[in-house]
Amino acid sequence: MTAQGSYAWTPGYFDDGDRPQIVTGRFPYEDSYTLDRYLETGGYEGLKRALEIGPEATSGEVKDSTLLGRGGAGFPAGVKWGFTPQGVWPRYLVVNGDESEPGTYKDRLLMERDPHQLIEGCLIACYAAGLSQCFLYVRGEMALAHERIAGALDEAYAAGYVGTDILGTDFSVDIILHWGAGAYVVGEETALIESLEGERGMPRLKPPYFPAAIGLYGQPTIVNNVETLANLPYIAANGSAAYTAIGTETSPGTRMIAVSGHVKRPGVYEIVNGSTTFRDLIYGDDFAQGIRDDNDLKAFVPGGGSAPWFLPDQLDIPFEGKEASAAGSMLGSGAVMVMDSTTDIPEAALTLVRFYAHESCGKCVPCREGGTWLLRIVERICSGHGTTADLDQILEVGQSICPGDMPHASSERLGLEAVPFPYKMTTICFVGPSAYAPIHSALTLFRDEFEAKVSPSPKRVRIPVAVA
C-alpha cells in the first residue's frame, strides 16, 4: 500500500515500450505537477503558439486534428466548438473532471500528475472558442486532484498564465476550481451544468438543452473531458499534422486506457488510438501481460461499466469506435475490465446493476423504477432465491428501458450474431440503459450460469395495478 500524500511513483501507470506519449509524458517525474517541471518540459508552449497564430487559426488546428472527445461520446472537439450559435455571448468552458465510470481511471491521473497540462488545455480552448470563464468541475471524492489543481492554479495565476492579460496579451480568463460532491450522473454534461448551477445534478433534456447552444446559465457552453483538453497543448504546439500522424484517420492520436480486473499487470496505458487491439491490451507484454495465473479469459468490458460485454471472440477488434459498435458495444471512456474463467458472472453483473441503480438521479421513471427493479431481481437470483421467471422478467423490464433489439457481441460458442450498438432508449440519459446493458450481456452470453442459480418458478401471482 502506498499512502498517497507524495508520490514516489504513479500508481498503475506504465510507460514501458516505445509508445508515443502525448499526455502522459511527465508522469514519471516525481514533481510532474509543479510549474517548474512543467516549464522545463515544454509547458505553456502550446498556449504561446496559439496566442501567436490567433483564435481562429487555433480552432482551425483543433478541427483539423479531429481530436475525439474522451469522455465517452467520442465526438470531435473542433466540431463541437463550432456548434456555438453565432454572436451569442458570453460563452463558458466547463471541464468535465467527474470521472466515475466504472473501470475508468485516467482523468484523475491527468489532474493529479499534470494539472498544468490541463490548465494549458483549458486556456487554449477558451482562447480559440472565445470562452470568457472556465469552470473546472472535479469529482468531489478526488481530494488530491483538488489539492494539486488548486496549487497549480495559484502558481499559474502568479506567473501570469491565467487571469487578466495573459502573457501580456488582451486574452483574459479566470479558471475556477469547482468541487463536486458525489454523484456519478453529474458526469453527464447537462447534469454537470445543473450541478454547477447549484441544482440537483439531474440531466436536462436534449433537445432543447444542447450545452453548446443552451448551457450554463442558458448560455453557449463547451463541455469537454479532462483528457480531451489535455491533448490541446500538444496539438497547439506541434500542429494538427503532427497529431494526425499518430493513430488512424478516424481515431487520431493516443488514448489512455485503464485495464483492470483479472490481468497480470493491471494499469493505465497511453495507447495509439484506432490500431491497438484488445488482444494487445490484455495480452501484450508492454500492456497487461495476460490473464492472472494464466487462466482463460471469460469476458471483458471494453468501454467502461455501461458498455455491453465482449467475449474472447472479440479480442482482435482494434480500439476504434465504429468497429466496436459494429461488434455490439462501445469504447466509451477507455476502460477495459477483464474477467477470467473463475468469475461468477451473475455476481459480476450484479455489481454493475447495483452501481447504475444506485446512481440513478431519479428524474425519469424507467431508470428510477426500472433500475431498482432489475437490481432486486438480480440480488434475489444471486442470493439463491431466484426463479426461471425472473430471467425473463429481467428482459421484460429491460424492454421498458431499451425497447427493441439490445446490442450484444457475437458468440461462436452460442452461435450468436452480433447486434450492433447503439440501443433505443426511453430514458433521458444513459444511466438507465447502463443498468440494463451489463445484465443483458451477462444473461445473453452466460444464461447457463444464471439458470444454475435459479429454481423453477411457481405459478405467477397476479397483482392488479390499480383498484377500480
Partner: protein
C-alpha cells in the same frame, strides 16, 4: 360524472382548451404547421407541443408530469410516442417536442403502446394499492390511465417503497409519499407559478421524495393548487379529505366571488352540501389557479352559525319570526323613515358581496325610494370615478410594456391576479413599477419599487416621470395602472392625486381597478355607486352618527368590522334610529339591527357577477338555501311590491326569475347591453362590459411630510383576517393573522422595542397597544398593522385610531 370531474381536476386547462378549440379549426395562417398524426394530416401551430397538438385533434396522449400551464420537464416518460422527422420513427416525449413541418406522429403504434404500458407498470411498481381508501380514487389520472393505457396487471413482486403515511406539510395540505409518482407538478407550481419554493425534491434516485425543509411548512396562499394538479392521491386537502367519493359529486361551473378577480371555478357538492371548489382554466382570468381563500372558503357555507330565519327586535332582543312579519316590519320602518325624515334619512350600505342582480334590484328599489346615501364600499375603497377611466383587462395588463402598481399588495388581496402579474413579470412580458408604502408580494418581481411616504404618492409619481430611464420605459409600450387602496389609514385622496398625475402624464394609460370585494365593480356599475362624495359610506356614517339617519339598511355589510374608522362606525350604528341588516351570518353589526333578514349565500342563488375587468360571468346555484334565507334581489323585489304605492310599478317587482332580472339589468344599465342572461350563459369567458367615460372629479391632494418624531401608520389587508368568510371556514380560519405593530428592525432599535414586546400607538384621538414584530419589509418611518386582525390581548383595535377624514395617520410610539 367521474369523467368530467377528472377532466376538471386533472388540468382542466388541457381539456378545456380542447373543448373550446375543437369546433372551429384554425383557418390556414402563417403560424400553421401541417403534421401527420396517426396517418391523417392535421394542422398544428408553430411552436406547439406534439402532445397539445395531438390532443386538440382528438388523440389523447397519456401523461403525468406535463401540465399546459407550466414548463415541460419530460420526467414521467408516459407521453412517449413514435415521432418521425425523417430519420425514421423514434420514441420521443411528446411533451418536450414541438411540431415541425411534415413530422409524422404515431400515438398508436405497437412500439408506442409497449412503451406506454411499460411506463405505467414501472410507475405503479411502487404505488400502493390503496385506491379504495384514497381520496383521488375515481378521479385519479394514474388509476384511469392504468386502465386505459396500462398493462392491467403488475409483475412487480418486490417489496414496495415505504414512507410514513400522510404527513401534514401545512395547515391545509397533507403529503403521502408512497403514492407520489414524482411528476414534479407540485414542486414546479411552487417554484414557477407561486414563487414559494418551500417544497422540493430531496434525496436521489429511487429514494427521491417531495419534502419541505424540517420545521418549515409549505406556507403558501396557493397551496390548494398543488392538490388539484397532483395526478395521484399524494397531496390531499385537509378540508376535503374523506368528505366524498368523486362519483357522488355533482358539479357546476361558476365564478368565485371571494375577491374581484372572479376566478372561474367548478362547484362540487354531494347531498346538497358544497364540498369542494376546483379551479377551471379560464384563458383570460385564472389559468386554472385559485388562491386558498377562494378555494377553501366553501366551508363557511355549511357553518352552523349561518343565519337561517328572519329576526325582529322585541323587548327581549332579536327574536326569530316569519318572513311575512319580518318583511312587514321592514316596510314599516321604511314608511316611518320616509314620513319622519324623507328619503334623505334612509341609507343603503353594502351590496358588493352579492350578484349583479342583487345589486341591481336594490339599486332600483333605492331609486324608487329616492335614497341618495348609498355605497357598496365601506370607506375602504376608491371613488367610483376610477371606473370611468379606460379599462384594461388582465391579459392587457400582462402583456403591457409597463404595469404601474398604485395600490394594495395584490398577493394579499387578489390572489389569482397576483399569479398572473407575477407570471407576466417572470416571463419578461411586462415590467412592473411598484408604488407602495412597504414591500409587497410582487416587490421581488418589480422592475422598480418606489416607497413614498404614505399619502405622498403623487410627488413620487412626479419624480418617477422625471427619471429619463423610466420615462423611456413608459414610452416604450402600453401602460396599465393597477389602482387600489394601499393604506386604509390614509385618505383615498392621496391615491387619486397620484392616479391623476399618471393619467395626465400618460393619457393612453388604461386602468385595472384593484378593488377587493367580490362584486364591488358590479355593484358600483349597476346603480349602487353614490352620486358624489357627500353620499358615500363615510358621509353616510357621519350623517348617522349625527342622528340624521332614520333607517340604515346594511346589505351584506358589517361596518363595525369593515370600516377602517371603527369609532365612526360605532357612533353611526348607535346614531341611526333603526337598522335593517340583510346578511348570511350574525355579525357585530347585525346584533344592533332591528330587523335581520337571512340572505342566500354564494352557491345558493343563481345570477352573474362582474370582475375587476368588467367581465360579467355567471354564478351557479348549486345547493338549496340555508333555512329560509332568500337571495337579496328577491327581498328587494318583494319590498318593491309591498311599497308600490311609493315606488310605483318597478319592473323588478314583477320578475319571477333571476334571468329576467339579468335581462332587465342588461336593458337598463349603460354598457351592460351585451350581458344578457343568454350571452352570459353562453360565453365561456363571460362578457366584458364597456366602462362609462367620466373624469376623476377632484384630483385630491397630498398629505404633508411626516415629522420625525412620529411614525406613519399603514393598515392593509392580509389574505386571511377576521372577515366572516374566513372566520367561518374551519380550515383557513386557523391562518388568520393576529394584530401586531410591524416595524423595521432599525426603527425598533431606535425605539428600544424588541420582538414581541408591547408598544402603544398614540394618535390625538386615541391609542392602541400591540405586540411588536420586526420586519425588514417595512419601510423605515412606517408602522404597519394588518387590518381586521384577531387580537388575543385586549389592547384595543388599530381601526379605532384611524380617522376616516384625516389625510394620513401619524402615531407616536410608546414602548411599554
Amino acid at each position: 360524472m367521474s369523467e368530467d370531474v377528472t377532466t376538471e381536476t386533472e388540468d382542466a386547462s388541457a381539456e378545456d382548451d380542447v373543448a373550446v378549440d375543437v369546433e372551429p379549426e384554425p383557418e390556414p395562417d402563417p403560424n400553421a404547421v401541417t403534421i401527420e398524426l396517426n396517418g391523417r394530416s392535421v394542422e398544428a401551430r408553430k411552436g406547439e407541443l406534439v402532445i397539445a397538438a395531438a390532443e386538440r385533434h382528438g388523440s389523447y396522449i397519456p401523461h403525468f408530469c406535463y401540465h399546459p400551464r407550466m414548463s415541460s420537464v419530460g420526467m414521467c416518460r408516459q407521453c412517449l410516442v413514435e415521432v418521425d422527422t425523417g430519420r425514421g420513427p423514434q420514441l420521443q416525449p411528446s411533451c418536450m417536442i414541438t411540431v415541425s413541418p411534415d413530422m409524422k406522429v404515431d400515438t398508436e403504434s405497437a412500439t408506442t403502446k409497449r412503451a406506454q404500458e411499460g411506463m405505467l407498470e414501472l410507475l405503479l411498481a411502487n404505488h400502493p394499492l390503496d385506491c379504495p381508501v384514497c381520496d383521488k380514487g375515481g378521479e385519479c389520472p394514474l388509476q384511469d390511465q392504468a386502465f386505459s393505457h396500462g398493462p392491467g396487471e403488475s409483475r412487480y413482486v418486490e417489496e414496495k417503497r415505504h414512507y410514513e403515511k400522510p404527513i401534514p406539510i401545512s395547515e391545509l395540505v397533507l403529503l403521502d409519499r408512497e403514492r407520489c409518482i414524482l411528476c414534479d407538478r407540485c414542486t414546479r407550481f411552487a417554484d414557477e407559478v407561486a414563487g414559494d419554493k418551500l417544497i422540493h425534491f430531496i434525496e436521489r434516485g429511487n429514494q427521491t421524495q417531495v419534502m419541505t425543509f424540517p420545521d418549515e411548512p409549505f406556507v403558501s396562499y396557493f397551496s390548494g393548487n398543488t392538490v388539484q394538479i397532483c395526478p395521484v392521491g399524494a397531496l390531499t386537502a385537509e378540508p376535503y379529505r374523506f368528505k366524498a367519493r368523486p362519483w357522488d359529486l355533482g358539479q357546476q361551473e361558476s365564478t368565485c366571488m371571494g375577491c374581484s378577480t372572479g376566478c372561474r371555478i367548478v362547484v362540487q357538492s354531494s347531498r346538497d352540501e358544497v364540498l369542494r371548489y376546483n379551479g377551471v382554466d379560464s384563458e383570460p382570468v385564472n389559468h386554472g389557479w385559485l388562491c386558498d381563500r377562494g378555494r377553501f372558503g366553501f366551508e363557511a357555507l355549511s357553518s352552523e352559525h349561518r343565519l337561517t330565519e328572519p329576526m325582529v327586535r322585541t323587548d327581549v332582543g332579536l327574536t326569530p319570526t316569519s318572513w311575512t312579519s319580518a318583511m312587514a316590519a321592514t316596510t314599516g320602518l321604511i314608511r316611518q323613515a320616509l314620513e319622519s325624515g324623507g328619503p334623505s334619512s334612509i341609507a343603503l350600505i353594502g351590496g358588493a358581496r352579492g350578484t349583479n342582480e342583487d345589486a341591481f334590484a336594490w339599486a332600483q328599489l333605492a331609486d324608487g325610494l329616492g335614497i341618495e346615501f348609498r355605497d357598496p364600499q365601506l370607506g375602504d375603497g376608491l371613488p367610483a370615478a376610477i371606473l370611468g377611466l379606460p379599462r384594461a383587462t388582465i391579459d392587457e395588463a400582462c402583456s403591457a410594456g409597463t404595469v404601474i402598481l398604485l395600490g394594495p399588495d395584490v398577493k394579499e388581496e387578489l390572489g389569482a391576479l397576483y399569479l398572473r402579474l407575477r407570471g407576466a413579470a417572470r416571463d419578461g412580458a411586462t415590467k412592473i413599477i411598484e408604488i407602495a408604502p412597504n414591500d409587497t408580494g410582487l416587490t421581488n418581481m418589480a422592475w422598480k419599487s418606489l416607497r413614498p411616504q404614505p399619502g405622498r404618492q403623487a410627488s413620487a409619481v412626479r419624480e418617477l416621470f422625471a427619471d429619463p430611464e423610466i420615462a423611456e420605459q413608459i414610452a416604450s409600450g402600453d401602460v396599465v395602472v393597477v389602482v387600489g387602496r394601499s393604506n386604509l389609514a390614509e385618505s383615498p385622496a392621496a391615491t387619486m392625486a397620484a392616479l391623476s398625475e399618471i393619467v395626465e402624464a400618460v393619457p393612453t394609460a388604461t386602468v385595472l381597478p384593484a378593488l377587493r370585494r367580490g362584486n364591488v365593480i358590479g355593484a358600483l356599475s349597476v346603480g349602487l355607486a353614490p352620486a358624489d362624495a357627500d353620499h358615500d359610506a363615510i358621509a353616510t356614517l357621519e350623517a348617522a352618527a349625527g342622528g340624521k339617519i332614520e333607517l340604515l339598511i346594511l346589505l351584506g355589510a358589517d361596518p363595525l368590522c369593515d370600516v377602517p374608522d371603527h369609532d365612526l362606525a360605532r357612533r353611526a350604528l348607535a346614531g341611526a334610529r333603526s337598522i335593517v341588516s340583510i346578511d348570511t351570518f350574525p355579525t357585530e353589526s347585525t346584533r344592533q339591527a332591528d330587523v335581520v333578514l337571512p340572505a342566500a349565500a354564494f352557491t345558493e342563488k343563481a345570477g352573474s357577477t362582474t370582475n375587476l375587468e368588467g367581465r360579467v360571468n355567471d354564478v351557479a346555484h348549486r345547493v338549496t338555501t340555508k333555512g329560509t334565507s332568500r337571495p337579496d334581489w328577491m327581498i328587494a323585489a318583494e319590498l318593491a311590491l309591498d311599497l308600490d304605492d311609493i315606488v310605483g310599478d318597478l319592473p323588478i317587482a314583477m320578475a319571477t326569475s333571476v334571468e329576467e332580472i339579468t335581462d332587465l339589468l342588461a336593458a337598463t344599465v349603460p354598457g351592460f347591453a351585451a350581458a344578457t342572461s343568454e350571452a352570459v350563459e353562453r360565453e365561456v369567458d363571460g362578457v366584458v362590459v364597456e366602462s362609462q367615460p367620466s373624469d376623476l372629479a377632484d384630483r385630491g391632494d397630498e398629505a404633508s411630510v411626516r415629522n420625525s418624531y412620529s411614525y406613519r401608520l399603514v393598515v392593509s389587508h392580509k389574505m386571511f383576517d377576521r372577515a366572516i368568510g374566513t372566520a367561518m371556514s374551519r380550515g383557513i380560519s386557523k391562518l388568520s393573522v393576529s394584530a401586531a405593530a410591524h416595524l423595521h428592525p432599525l426603527d425598533a432599535d431606535q425605539l428600544g422595542a424588541g420582538e414581541g414586546g408591547d408598544v402603544r400607538l398614540v394618535t390625538d384621538r386615541s391609542s392602541v397597544v400591540l405586540p411588536v414584530v420586526l420586519d425588514p419589509r417595512i419601510e423605515r418611518g412606517n408602522v404597519w398593522v394588518p387590518f381586521n386582525a384577531s387580537s388575543d390581548q385586549g389592547g384595543g383595535r388599530v381601526e379605532s385610531i384611524i380617522d376616516a377624514r384625516a389625510a394620513v395617520t401619524d402615531v407616536k410610539i410608546e414602548v411599554l
